[in-house]
């Protein structure tokens, strides 16, 4: 036993070294730099470097934010600003630690400003304050963070989430004629934007008094897989022999909507109950087109990315920026989805916006 264990000592040291090397390469996996060749090395001092930090990189939604940021970069460059935008975020939407570590790395990495979609209202407040203290202005987009916009950070540029949730609630109440049982699948504990959507939805849908809200406090979790499992369990717990047990359902973001769509489809309920979701992705738009989803509340993430970068540049130039900017939300129904304005929100031409540099 003892003799066999001897080679373990040097090899365990090797393994330890290998482990130490891991974090160094860990967070470069999701980076998409829009820097072009040769630039940045020669004129490092005069180039403004802005980091755009999304909540995650797997959701379609963040691709649109990225596209908006790249479009702003291109336009500002054309107007004579020497600018470089780097898009980098955690892979998973519940990895607060990775996002905090990322911000700390950005602070020491020579960035001039940060556009951030915070994963958590509280957990990201301190890193934001540290960046601001270090003279790096932070523009908060999409989701709120503790603090006062205009004082603790430059500006809060986002959808008015409570009103957006309200749009869904009003539609559901109208579609049911003010009477029925309405199910809510929540998204994730501690997520500010979706909690507001849920609140807005509940307030609007119960305003008439005739609707019974089924809110089993179920959270879909961070991924499509967890959302699907939660939705399937929920539907199987509500169903009786003859009826699904509810008349309408609302989900407050892309992954929870997709998980619910899969679960409804599987039980043959897609298109039979009123289903309103949030955000757009090719899979959800296909569901809307096929009548499986009645409506999607869509935000304008391209505008959010664009305004975020513009606000950061303005703050660096010393210009005053509005502390609160609402980028708007629209409820797109299957009947209205083919209107040009809605199509642009549902299926934006990201390739054109990202140009040859993006994917």
């Amino acid at each position: 036993m003892r003799t066999r264990r001897r080679p373990f000592v040097p090899s365990s040291l090797l393994a330890l070294l290998a482990l130490l090397a891991l974090p160094a390469c860990g967070d470069s996996s999701s980076q998409t730099s829009t820097k072009s060749q040769g630039q940045g090395e020669t004129a490092e001092s005069s180039t403004i470097r802005i980091a755009v930090v999304p909540k995650g990189t797997t959701h379609e939604y963040w691709k649109s934010v990225h596209a908006g940021a790249v479009a702003a970069e291109r336009d500002l460059r054309a107007a004579g600003t020497d600018l470089e935008v780097v898009f980098r975020g955690p892979d998973r939407e519940d990895d607060r630690e990775q996002q905090i570590a990322l911000l700390e790395n950005l602070q020491s990495g020579g960035f001039d400003a940060v556009v951030l979609a915070p994963l958590d209202e509280q957990a990201l407040a301190t890193p934001v304050r540290r960046l601001e203290d270090a003279g790096i202005p932070v523009v908060v987009i999409d989701s709120g963070v503790a603090g006062t916009p205009g004082e603790d950070f430059v500006s809060f540029i986002a959808t008015d989430n409570e009103r957006a949730g309200g749009l869904a609630g009003e539609h559901v109440a109208k579609a049911l004629g003010g009477v029925g049982r309405v199910l809510l699948l929540r998204y994730l504990e501690g997520s500010e934007s979706t909690t507001r959507r849920e609140k807005g939805f509940i307030d609007a849908v119960t305003a008439g008094g005739g609707i019974e809200l089924l809110d089993p406090a179920r959270h879909a979790g961070a991924t499509r897989a967890t959302a699907q499992e939660a939705a399937e369990n929920l539907l199987s717990s509500l169903a009786t022999e003859s009826a699904p047990g509810f008349d309408a359902v609302f989900c407050p973001n892309e992954s929870s909507t997709y998980g619910m769509l899969l679960a409804l489809r599987q039980r043959g309920l897609a298109g039979k109950v009123v289903f309103v979701g949030f955000d757009a992705s090719p899979d959800l738009v296909a569901g809307l087109r096929g009548g499986e989803i009645d409506g999607l509340v869509v935000q304008d993430p391209i505008r959010m990315g664009r305004l975020g970068v513009e606000a950061a540049v303005a703050a660096l130039a010393g210009t005053t920026v509005e502390p609160r900017i609402d980028t708007g939300a629209v409820l797109v129904l299957s009947e209205t989805m083919n209107e040009a304005r809605n199509l642009a929100l549902l299926e934006p031409d990201l390739e054109a916006l990202l140009g040859a540099e993006g994917r």
Binding site: M1, R4, P7, F8, S11, S12, L14, A15, A18, L19, L22, G26, S29, S30, T32, G56, T57, T58, H59, E60, K63, D91, R92, E189, P216, A217, R218, H219, G221, T223, R224, A225, Q228, E229, A230, E232, N233, L234, S236, S237, A239, L262, Q266, R267, P282, D283, R359
Partner: protein
């Protein structure tokens, strides 16, 4: 390494007690089922819910079959969640490139097998603890999955694969989803390999006492590599099921699933120090975890209650198992 040698398989004289012992993990599942029936408002389990629970147990279950053999051989595989993501993503990319369903299945299993071989070779060639190697490949496989997909989900045609893992089976006579039947068949095959083949006996001998096994002429390196390769192939199949469930390849899926997998094996009565494992127990463990999740929803308990319960269930299962072992000597 501390467990008593278990080189010889159960002798015929002890068949009755061995049978009784192999059924004890089912007692645990039964107790949990009865517990939820006893708690007011006494929700009965409907066929729909059985189907849902079955499907939810499939991904963890299939991966846990491989982990059972690995743990029986005194090893450990922490990279299984990352393998599920990598192989699921592989399937989606193969299908998106226009290939057929059979090719996608083969590709997922082949990539899983390759991952397992890689684990096994690193462990044997570098003579490193499995914990360290698979902790490293956990990051490597996950990174590879993100690299292949640029960290985004990949939509792909499922070509009917989704009906294998949907809670409602394509034909009513199947009762449960085809994937659940596949899981049961694979479990039977795994039990056969573990208890009735030379490889299985070698694996148990290796897990029981490596020195003794070596002296008895057990090919240590070959057995170890084979065990990880089998686990990899099964993880590949689990990855394919994960893809079919989501109808898209997600590189961030199944983070932390390795813990569910190990929990299922341990709840099933396997010893983490190797030398003993129960395939039936692992199945019971996988179903128990899925059952608990479903019941917590039916009961209207919030997510955190379920996390707290599953946590203690693992501790309880191992405590009972140890107590039983001490009593039987």
């Amino acid at each position: 390494m501390t467990a008593s040698p278990a080189i010889a398989p159960a002798s015929t004289g002890a068949t009755a007690s061995a049978l009784a012992r192999s059924l004890t993990p089912l007692v645990g599942l039964l107790v949990v089922v009865l517990f939820f029936l006893a708690v007011p408002p006494h929700h009965a389990v409907t066929l729909e819910q059985v189907r849902t629970i079955g499907v939810h147990a499939v991904i963890v279950g299939v991966a846990a079959l491989g982990a059972t053999i690995v743990i029986a051989a005194g090893g450990l595989d922490l990279s299984v969640g990352s393998m599920i993501a990598l192989t699921g993503v592989t399937a989606s990319l193969v299908l998106r490139a226009g290939h057929g369903a059979t090719t996608a299945v083969a590709a997922a299993v082949a990539v899983g097998l390759a991952c397992g071989l890689y684990n096994g070779l690193l462990i044997t060639i570098l003579r490193l603890p499995a914990f360290i190697v698979t902790l490293g490949t956990l990051g490597f496989f996950r990174g590879a999955a993100k690299w292949l997909t640029s960290s985004r989900t990949v939509s792909a045609p499922t070509l009917g694969l989704e009906s294998i893992v949907a809670p409602r089976p394509p034909a009513p006579w199947m009762l449960v989803a085809p994937a659940v039947w596949i899981l049961l068949l694979l479990a039977a095959a795994s039990a056969f390999v573990l208890h009735r083949t030379v490889l299985g006996r070698h694996a148990l001998a290796l897990g029981g006492n490596e020195q003794a096994a070596r002296r008895c002429g057990v090919p240590i390196t070959g057995t170890r590599v084979a065990v990880y390769a089998i686990a990899g192939a099964l993880a590949g199949l689990a990855g394919l099921f994960q893809f079919a469930r989501l109808q898209s390849g997600d590189p961030t899926v199944a983070i932390g699933v390795e813990l569910d997998v190990i929990a299922a094996v341990v709840i099933g009565g396997a010893s983490l120090s190797g030398g003993s494992a129960s395939v039936l127990g692992t199945l019971a463990g996988a179903f128990m975890i899925a059952y608990l999740r479903n019941r917590c929803v039916v009961m209207g308990w919030p997510n955190y209650v379920q996390e707290m319960i599953v946590g203690h269930l693992i501790i309880l299962a191992v405590a009972v198992d140890l107590w039983r072992r001490r009593r039987t000597g």
